[in-house]
């Protein structure tokens, strides 16, 4: 792979800035020692514990599990309900005003009632994550289904497909780009809800680890925990992008053609 001069320049600029910031941090943490600014090695050690030490099992995996379950529930429910609403004028009329109100309730507001009703359990945390994730998926599915080219639907009708078959074989695919956009947003929201649910009422998880570190003034743990959340978010988003690329390989070529 040939490396162009622009790439080298770009990389060097980036390394310069990043390196500069890290060096400044390290220098500051040593020259002005304070509990809020730990040296980089301490952060790295704590981070490593999260990656493959004891904390992997007590902190990272439980959080990951809750996030994935909540996200998947929301993705499935949101897609199915959203596609159905998007395809049916009647369902849309009935559900739209309710959805237009519910979407403006910040998902965090559901935490206290969930805590009250379900207690500080995993069910509560999964529910809160799913609640936060479902709206972007739902809205994206409705939008995607409503924007399906009418000619696709007519072609399906002509070929004798009933309404359910039409949704399964045509609407689902035509709405997929929109669905993936919604899933990406939902993943970000799921991450937020995961953290919030663990900051407020948890006994394990990354959020809980961060909070406990903060209370014990172990700031290295705080920063490491945040870095771990960023890592998880980055990995999951990358995974979703790979999935999206595979599922939507036909979309780019078609879109280019549409603009003719």
């Amino acid at each position: 792979m040939t490396v162009s001069p622009q790439r080298i320049r770009a990389l060097s600029l980036q390394l310069l800035l990043l390196g500069g910031l890290l060096i400044t941090w390290q220098w500051a943490s040593i020259t002005f020692p304070s509990p809020t600014m730990p040296p980089l090695q301490a952060i790295w050690q704590a981070y490593w514990r999260l990656v493959q030490g004891d904390l992997l099992h007590t902190a990272v995996l439980p959080s990951l599990y809750r996030l994935l379950v909540g996200f998947l529930i929301a993705a499935l429910a949101g897609s199915i309900i959203g596609l159905a609403i998007g395809c049916s004028r009647v369902l849309d009329d009935w559900s739209r005003p309710v959805l237009e109100y519910l979407r403006y309730i910040p998902a965090i507001a559901i935490l206290p009632p969930a805590l009250l009703i379900l207690g500080p359990t995993d069910t509560m945390r999964i529910f809160v994550i799913a609640f936060g994730c479902i709206f972007p998926v739902l809205l994206a599915a409705i939008d995607g289904a409503r924007r399906v080219e009418p000619t696709f639907l007519e072609t399906a009708r002509i070929n004798g497909l009933g309404p359910v078959a039409r949704v399964r074989r045509v609407v689902l695919f035509a709405a997929m780009p929109s669905l993936f956009a919604g899933l990406r947003i939902a993943l970000g929201l799921g991450l937020i809800m995961m953290v919030i649910s663990e900051l407020i009422a948890a006994d394990n998880g990354i959020g809980f680890f961060i909070l406990r570190s903060q209370r014990l003034f172990q700031s290295a743990g705080v920063y490491a925990g945040v870095l771990m959340i960023g890592t998880i978010g980055w990995l999951l988003t990358a995974g979703l992008l790979v999935l999206e690329k595979k599922a939507l390989h036909w979309h780019r070529g078609w879109r280019g053609l549409l603009s003719e």
């Binding site: 080219e149 009418p150 000619t151 696709f152 007519e154 072609t155 009708r157 002509i158 070929n159 004798g160 045509v170 695919f173 997929m176 036909w250 979309h251 070529g253 078609w254 280019g256 053609l257 549409l258 003719e260």
Partner: protein, 259 residues
Amino acid sequence: MIQNTNGAILAVENISRTYSGAEMPILEGLTFQQNPGEFVAIVGPSGCGKTTLLRCCAALMQPDAGSVLHAGQKLSDPPAWLSIVFQDYNRSLFPWLSVKQNVGFGLSHVGKRERDERVAAALAAVRLDHAADLYPWQLSRGMQQRCALARSIVVRPKLLLLDEPFASVDAQTRFDLQDLVMEICREMSLSTLLVTHDMDEAVFMADKVVVLSTKPARVIEQVAIDIPYPRDQLTTKESSEFLRLRHQVYTLVRQQVRH
């Protein structure tokens, strides 16, 4: 209930259609019939409602008044023996399916072996066999429209509707496609209904040309085209019979435009 329509495969009886929010009907009192095996072309001034008429003929849309009878029956959904080729192949060929999968789309109730055979035969008929595994957007416009044609004939229809199918392709490709459609329709003994704004094309391809008025559209005249098949792009279009009929159709349409 089968009504007596003298064996016509498609009987359009006095239909009217108004779009909600519009002051005026787009179709009003429109009547014509199509007999089995006939190639009917519908022409008229731009925007006079030809596509609306085609939708009603396809039973995708119901007229506000009057009736459309398919083989004597009033239907609320397109019958299995009716096929349609849309103008905009971009919005009708499914981009997530290959050519082969697109053509086989309507054959999901048929066994795999039979489906593969029929798809191969249809692709061979439109001369797209080499492109079976490509995706629609990888094909040229003419090839995409041929793919749409293959998809509509693989289900072995009795009535084929074409909505300005050659409007989006260049002139050269258009002639090739016209020849292809005529050849297929004759080989499969199809009844064909072609909606087009191209009057030359209408006279060249059809047994009968139905001329529509401007909005609200009704039938001005039905011109019988007595030129024998097979017709040739070069010699037929120079024959005196063709020129006379062409002149007749042109005059009818131009009279409408001047209103």
